[in-house]
Symmetry: C2
Subunit: 465 residues, 2 copies
C-alpha cells in the first residue's frame, strides 16, 4: 500500500511539475498547440473558471474596505451583512485575530446551518479551521498522541482523496485501505471493512476510519443503510469516525440525497448516538462556493469527551486564528440571503446555475468518455469528479498511464489526475488505470477539454505499433 | 522552567477567559464603569483600533470583487495592481489555491523586498506561510524529526514572546531559557548563552536558538556586535538560528537601526556566511501593516541543504496553500506604491502616522508609568510593547500579579499581559512582575487606558491594609 501510494503521489506530483514547466514555457512565449494548461486533476473551481458567488464576494470586499458601505455601490443587504460582520469582529476589522477555533458568531451560524440541514437535530461543538485539511490534521494528531508502541492507523477507502496518503504519512500514521465495490456503484461493504481490520492485526493499531461522502474521487453517494453499517463497525471496533462531507453540496443523481453521518447516527437511537465518536468536515472550498484560496472550513465533533475538547483547541492555537475573511465567507455560506432580500434572487440563480453546470458536465463528460475506446466511466451521482477507467493496450507497457497522461499534457495542455487501478479483471485485456477529471468548470471549458482529450486519445491509439 | 512557563501561560489564559466573560456580560447589557474591554496584552493592531492601510485594503477589495475594476470608485494604481495580481492568480481568482509555499510571483516580490532591505544582498529561498507561527512550527517540526533518544531543545530568550512556550510544548520540544540582561537594555550576552547550553548537557539535545529582534516583548533592538556573537555561538554549537524579525518595521529609538541577522551573517565573511543555517521570519501581522486576520507571513531560509528544502515544502502542504488574499497583501507590503503613483502620498502618510503613533505612545506610556509608584519601565527602542516592571508590596501576597491584573480587568476593563519577574534584586522590597502593554493603538485609546490604569493603581495601593 505505501509503495503504491507513493507511486500514485509521484504520478500526480510529476504531472504537476510537468504542468508548471509547460506554463513557464508558455509564459516565455513558446508556441504550443494551446495557449493555457487546463488543470482538471484537482477540484479547484476558480482555477478552472467557475465564477464566484456575487453576494459572497461583495460582502467580503465591503468588510475589507468599509468605505464601500458609505454609498450604494453595493446592494443594501450586502452592506447590512458586512456591517453586522464587522460589528462582530474585534476592533470592527477583519484584520484582527479571532479565537483559535474561530469567532463564536461564525460557530453559531454554522451550528444553525448544520441543524437546518439535519432536520432540526442540534449541532455538536463546531470548530472553525484554516481549511478541511488543517482540521483533519489536528484530529489525526490526537490519534498520534499517546499511541504507545504500535503505529496508529486509519482505515481509508480505496480509491481515496488523492491528498490523503501524504497527510497520514506526514503524521506517521499507517493507512489501512478498504476497497469500495465499484461494480455496485462504489458501495462500502461491511465485510470489506472487517477484512481490512483483520489484516491489520499485529501490524498496527487501528484508531479511526475515514469515509468520504459524496465520494472523493468516486462520485458515489452513500445511502442510509451503508452509513449505518459503518457506524456499527466503528462502534464495534471502537474507531473514531472521520467523515469527509466536503462535497455535501454536490449531489445530482436522480434518486440521491445527501444524508449526513451525524443525522444517520442520531436516528439510530441512543445505543449508538450516545457513544460513537465522530468528526464531520466541511469546507468553503466545496463545490458550489469553491473559495479554496480563502482557506477556511469547519468541523463538527460528536461524542468527544469534554476533557478532549481543550486538546483540539490547543492544537488549533498553532494557527493562532483561522483567516477572518474566510470566516466571513463561511458565515455567508451558512446564512445565505433570504427570500425578499435584494440579493436573494441572484444568489439562488448563481447556485442553480452552478448545480446545472455540474449535472450537465457529468452527463456530457460520461457520454463522451464512454464513446472513446478503452474508457469506461461508471455513473457519477455526486462529488466533483468524473472518475473513469482507462484500459490501455498491453503493448504500451507497464507505465502506460503516466505515459498517456504525460503526452496528453504535453500535446494538448490537459492535466488530469491519474492512479493505478487495483482491479483484477482487466489484466488480461490491457493495463488499467483511473483518470480523474474535475467537473468544476464552465461547460465551454469542459467541451474544449473533452475535444482535446478525444483527439489525443484517438491519435495515441492510432500511433501504437 | 516548564512549570513557570505553564504558570505564565495560565496567567495570560486566565486573563483572556476573564476578558471574554466580561465582554459577554457587557453584551448582555450588564452595567460596568466602562463600555468595552481594551485588550493590550497582545499585539493585535486592528483589534485595538489602529487603522488599516487604505491602499492595501483597496487592492484586496478589488481582487475579491473585480467589478470594482470597471469604474473609478478606486484609484487607478489600485486597479492596476489588482489587475496585475489577478492576472497572476490561477483562473484570475483569489479563490483558487496557490502552491503550498505560496505564489511564485509573491515569493519574488518578497525576495526583492529582502534584497532592498539588506543593501542588495540576494535573498535566500522564500516560503510564504499561513502566518509566522505556522512557518515556525514547520521549521521546528524538522528539529523533531529524527531527533533520536534525547529530547530536542531550543534555546529561547527570557523574557520571550508569550506564545512561544506553548508552541514548543505542542511539538514536544524542550525550552532552554537564556536570560537577556535587563540592566544593559536587554542585551543578549554570549556568556549567558554558554551557561544555558552547559546547563542542558545530558538533559536534552539543543538543536536551535531563537532570537527576537526587535525584541518581543522587551522592545530592545540588537546591535551588530550582539548579532555577530549569536552567529558565532550558533556556528560553534551547530545550532539552527531561528530569527523572529516580525517587528523589523518598528524601530524608533534615537540611535537605533534594524540590522537583519542575514545581512550581519553575510557581512561576517564566508567562514560564517557559508555554513550557519538560519531562518528569518516576518509577517503581515507586523506593527505597521497589522493584518493579523489575513494569516500570512514568510520565511527566508539560509544555508539549508538542498535535500532539506523539499521537506519544508512537504510540511507546508499540510496547509495546502497559504490564504491567497493574504498573499496579495504581502505583495503590497513588499512592493508599496512608488513616488508619482496616485496612492503614494496617502500610503506614506499613513505609514508615517503609524510610526509617529508608536513613538508617541512609547514616550507617553513610559513617562506615565514611571510616575506611578512601583512601576519601572525601561527604555523601549523598538517592537510593539511597553514592557514594564511592577513591584507590589509583599503584603499583597505571592499572587499579587494575577490579583492586580484580574482586578484591573474587572474594575477598569483593561487587559494587560502578565509574567513573573525572574530578577532577584526586588525580592526584598516586594513581589515583582512584568506587565506587557501593546502600543499598537490610537493615542486617545492609550490615553484612556493609562487613565484607567493609573486610577486603578492608586486605588489598589490605597486599599491595602
Amino acid at each position: 500500500m505505501s509503495l503504491l501510494s507513493s507511486l500514485r503521489r509521484c504520478f500526480d506530483e510529476e504531472l504537476q511539475k510537468q504542468a508548471d514547466h509547460i506554463r513557464q514555457q508558455l509564459a516565455m512565449g513558446e508556441t504550443k498547440p494551446y495557449t493555457e494548461v487546463v488543470d482538471a486533476s484537482s477540484a479547484d473551481a476558480h482555477r478552472t473558471g467557475m465564477p464566484a458567488l456575487t453576494f459572497m464576494r461583495q460582502v467580503l470586499a465591503a468588510c475589507l474596505y468599509p468605505d464601500l458601505l458609505q454609498d450604494d455601490t453595493l446592494p443594501v443587504d450586502v452592506r447590512q451583512r458586512a456591517e453586522r460582520m464587522l460589528g462582530q469582529c474585534d476592533g470592527r476589522s477583519v484584520g484582527a485575530y479571532s479565537e483559535s477555533c474561530g469567532y463564536e458568531h461564525v460557530q453559531v451560524s454554522v451550528a444553525k446551518f448544520i441543524s437546518r440541514r439535519d432536520g432540526g437535530l442540534a449541532s455538536g461543538p463546531v470548530f472553525i479551521t484554516s481549511g478541511f485539511q488543517r482540521g483533519l490534521m489536528v484530529i489525526l494528531k490526537l490519534l498520534v498522541w499517546g499511541s504507545g508502541q504500535s503505529q496508529p492507523a486509519v482505515l481509508i477507502p480505496e480509491p481515496h482523496p488523492h491528498t490523503l496518503p501524504r497527510l497520514l504519512n506526514i503524521l506517521g500514521l499507517a493507512a489501512l485501505p478498504y476497497r469500495l465495490q465499484e461494480r455496485r456503484g462504489w458501495v462500502l461493504e461491511k465485510e470489506e471493512l472487517q477484512r481490512a481490520i483483520q489484516a491489520s492485526r499485529g501490524r498496527c493499531n487501528p484508531r479511526a476510519i475515514y469515509i468520504s461522502n459524496p465520494g472523493n474521487p468516486t462520485g458515489h453517494v452513500q445511502d442510509r443503510n451503508t452509513i449505518q453499517e459503518v457506524i456499527q463497525f466503528a462502534a464495534e471496533e471502537n474507531l473514531l469516525l472521520l467523515v469527509d462531507e466536503v462535497y455535501q453540496d454536490c449531489v445530482f443523481g436522480p434518486d440521491c440525497e445527501f444524508l449526513s453521518c451525524k443525522r444517520a447516527l442520531f436516528e439510530m437511537g441512543p445505543l449508538y448516538s450516545g457513544c460513537v465518536k465522530m468528526v464531520s468536515f466541511n469546507s468553503l472550498s466545496n463545490g458550489t462556493m469553491g473559495e479554496c484560496g480563502l482557506r477556511v472550513g469547519y468541523m463538527e465533533v460528536v461524542n468527544f469527551d469534554d476533557a478532549v475538547l481543550p486538546f483540539v483547541e490547543t492544537l488549533l492555537t498553532g494557527d493562532i486564528s483561522p483567516p477572518v475573511i474566510g470566516q466571513v465567507g463561511l458565515d455567508v455560506m451558512a446564512e445565505p440571503p433570504c427570500p425578499g432580500e435584494p440579493s436573494y434572487s441572484r444568489y439562488i440563480q448563481e447556485l442553480l446555475s452552478c448545480e446545472r453546470t455540474l449535472r450537465e458536465n457529468v452527463d456530457k463528460g460520461r457520454s463522451f468518455l464512454n464513446l472513446l475506446p478503452g474508457f469506461n466511466c461508471p455513473p457519477v451521482v455526486g462529488g466533483v469528479y468524473l472518475y473513469t477507467h482507462l484500459t490501455l493496450p498491453q503493448v504500451v507497457g507497464v507505465y502506460a498511464g503516466p505515459l498517456y497522461c504525460g503526452r496528453l499534457l504535453e500535446e494538448e495542455g490537459v492535466c488530469v489526475g491519474l492512479s493505478e487501478c487495483m482491479c483484477d479483471d482487466h489484466s488480461a485485456t490491457g493495463s488499467c488505470w483511473y483518470i480523474r477529471i474535475s467537473i468544476l468548470m464552465p461547460p465551454h471549458k469542459l467541451d474544449d477539454l473533452l475535444r482535446r482529450l478525444g483527439s489525443f486519445h484517438l491519435r495515441f491509439l492510432h500511433q501504437l505499433p
